[in-house]
């Protein structure tokens, strides 16, 4: 018997890309060889499975459309109205902020000082608590219960409307003398957010059976409903857990939260691992400074500053934008060679412009010669070789694969934000004279730093 058929053979056979003679041969082989027949069947099953269609539910389109910011694209004639709204918005929020600042001024300072003094034993808090009482009258409490002894400002985290992050809400709450603060927080979370008038996030009917703090871990013992009435979905669970854990870890004596269901540790919630304590997750919190829009604005500003520094060869200003730990990697073409591309540190760059040191930056496309240049030469040849400050387009975080070179920028710099300055080229050269410069920014301690400079142009 001849050797077995390869996947290539079977694939061509299936697609009909074989001559009649080959076809007959393969057919014959398949009828005789069980092993190849099985292989062929698996291939067919695999393709059939992949071809099976799945359908979204009938409300899907409506849900998406409802969640859109419909003013994003507006006909030109409507723009003036939007502008008027645009002015109102900040005014409205300013009023809100003033109200809030006024209300929290008293508490704020006290609460901060309380937060700065880590207290390991919750009982010690009682003394601090008492001092807060006088301010109570100044603030209309959203939760006017019978217990009016103590007022607190707590920070609660609730999901944003699209449930991809949590946003803080400061709330004035009442606390009975024998009540624990974590219980108050949980109770307030159950009420749901004020701001969006949305449904509470904690599954309906959940009761807090008990709570205990030991070694910085808050053991939150919840009733069965927390599991049974969970509407499902990993994203929901993630946002729910972040809402609870981030709210509780606002308390100085809580570092982690361990969930118990009816007193028992549970292995998984329904998707998430549940038998270990959860830590606070700052990256899940969205404040006015870290909304995607605010970050985009910030990155675009930084882009202009970095480009200006490149243009003016102002290495001092440039060095301030470079990532303090990682430095900045220069890639001559859009395929980033993580190991090979030149990386320059904040310190090095300050004096590099005058240096005679020749670096090996990669290979010229096409001819394949090594790119051996001083830093200054490289800058004028592979960084600011066009007036990118006046580029045709400035693209934020969208990947375009323009030439033949593999664009792995988004892969290599996952989690970063990427600005692309792009010149479209000219019809004279059939648009092949396009050029791009990509600046990659990464976050560290709330600031964004340059970690990559990727040059791109038409390659062969």
């Amino acid at each position: 018997m001849r050797s077995h058929l390869s996947i290539e053979d079977l694939d061509s056979f299936k697609e009909g890309n074989v001559t009649n003679r080959e076809k007959e041969k393969i057919k014959l082989h398949l009828s005789e060889c069980k092993q190849c027949r099985e292989k062929y069947n698996i291939m067919l099953d695999l393709e059939n499975y992949l071809k099976e269609e799945d359908y979204t539910d009938i409300y899907f389109t409506k849900r998406v459309v409802d969640s859109l910011n419909k003013n994003k694209h507006v006909k030109k004639s409507n723009k003036s109205i939007i502008k008027k709204y645009g002015i109102l918005k900040p005014v409205f929020s300013a009023v809100l902020i003033c109200t809030f600042v006024g209300a929290s001024f008293y508490f704020g300072t006290k609460f901060d000082s309380f937060k700065r003094n880590p207290v390991s034993d919750p009982d010690n808090l009682q003394t601090i608590q008492a001092t807060q009482q006088p301010a109570a009258e100044a603030v209309p409490s959203p939760a006017q219960s019978e217990i009016t002894d103590f007022k607190w400002v707590v920070i609660l985290y609730f999901p944003n409307p699209s449930a991809e992050c949590v946003v803080p809400e400061h709330r004035v709450v009442s606390k009975a003398q024998d009540e624990k603060l974590e219980e108050v927080i949980f109770r307030e979370l159950q009420k749901g957010p004020h701001e969006y008038g949305k449904e509470p996030i904690i599954p309906e009917g959940t009761r807090l059976l008990s709570s205990e703090v030991k070694d910085g871990i808050c053991y939150l013992n919840l009733s069965r409903e927390f599991v049974d009435n969970n509407p499902g979905g990993t994203a929901y669970e993630t946002v729910l857990i972040n809402s609870i854990v981030n709210s509780l870890t606002e308390l100085p004596y809580i570092e982690k939260v361990q969930f118990l269901i009816e007193g028992e540790v549970r292995e998984v919630y329904t998707h998430l691992v549940f038998d270990e304590p959860f830590e606070r997750n700052e990256s899940f919190i969205r404040t006015p400074e870290n909304t995607p829009e605010a970050i985009e604005e910030k990155i675009r500003e930084l882009g202009v500053e970095v480009l200006t520094a490149f243009k003016n060869k102002d290495m001092q200003s440039l060095s301030e934008h470079i990532h303090p730990d990682k430095g900045v990697r220069f890639s001559p073409y859009t395929y980033v060679e993580v190991e090979k591309d030149v990386v320059i540190t904040t310190e090095e760059i300050k004096t590099l412009l005058d240096s005679d040191k020749v670096y090996f930056w990669g290979f010229y496309d096409g001819i394949g010669d090594p790119i051996e240049l001083t830093f200054a030469k490289y800058l004028s040849e592979f960084v600011y070789d066009q007036d990118f400050l006046n580029a045709d387009e400035v693209i934020y975080d969208v990947q375009f694969d323009r030439g033949n070179t593999i664009n792995n920028v988004f892969e290599v710099y996952a989690g970063s934000h990427i600005l692309e300055y792009h010149f479209k080229g000219t019809p004279e050269y059939d648009w092949m004279d396009w050029k791009s410069l990509k600046l990659v920014f990464e976050e560290k301690d709330g600031n964004w730093y340059l970690i990559g400079v990727v040059h791109d142009q038409w390659t062969i």
């Binding site: 992949l50 799945d54 389109t61 859109l68 979905g233 694969d401």
Partner: protein, 186 residues
């Protein structure tokens, strides 16, 4: 393709209905793609929702010289990646029953159905064990019947590389399956 361009122009002018039409046109194919990628309808729905929001917010950045269908799949892949990263899903994903127990016809006997589900379950596991480098082109190829040229556009790789990755993916799956069942197939 021309139809897409007119639709996009309308969306850019603020016509929400045009966007609704666009969603209706692409949602099921994209959804099928994501279900094969995640093995979860729930996750797929969440990702898909985000995909359309991104498309809507970035529609001005779409370059008309490219095919819209490849652009939207590129967004889908990026959204999938960031979703998996965000939910930090490293543990193995349980496969939704809904994903498997489909395609049964009334004619088959229960034993056959069982056998077939077992086999499909195994194929799904093998697909999941592939590296994304092979898995994504494989799924793209059969879910949407994309040509290798289109896959190369979406993934930013050459056409030959796209073809090779799909073939290798198939080869991997077939070989691993045969390996596991060496005893049964003689």
């Amino acid at each position: 393709m021309q139809e897409d361009q007119t639709q996009i122009k309308r969306i850019r002018d603020g016509d929400i209905e045009a966007f609704e039409e666009l969603i209706d046109k692409y949602k099921n194919k994209l959804f099928s793609f994501l279900v094969k990628m995640t093995c979860s309808r729930q996750d797929s729905e969440e990702i898909l929702q985000e995909v359309f929001i991104r498309v809507f917010n970035n529609i001005n950045k779409y370059d008309d010289r490219w095919m819209f269908s490849t652009w939207i799949y590129r967004i889908a892949i990026n959204t999938y990646k960031s979703y998996m990263k965000k939910t930090k899903r490293l543990k193995t994903v349980p496969i939704d029953d809904v994903v498997i127990n489909k395609g049964m016809t009334g004619e088959e006997n229960p034993e056959k159905i069982y056998e077939r589900n077992e086999r499909q379950q195994e194929i799904i596991t093998l697909i999941n064990s592939l590296k994304d480098k092979q898995r994504v082109p494989l799924i793209l190829k059969y879910v949407k019947d994309f040509s290798y040229a289109e896959i190369s556009d979406i993934l930013g790789i050459s056409e030959e590389a796209a073809k090779m990755r799909v073939l290798r993916a198939k080869k991997n799956i077939c070989e691993k399956y045969m390996e596991r069942h060496r005893g049964d197939i003689q």
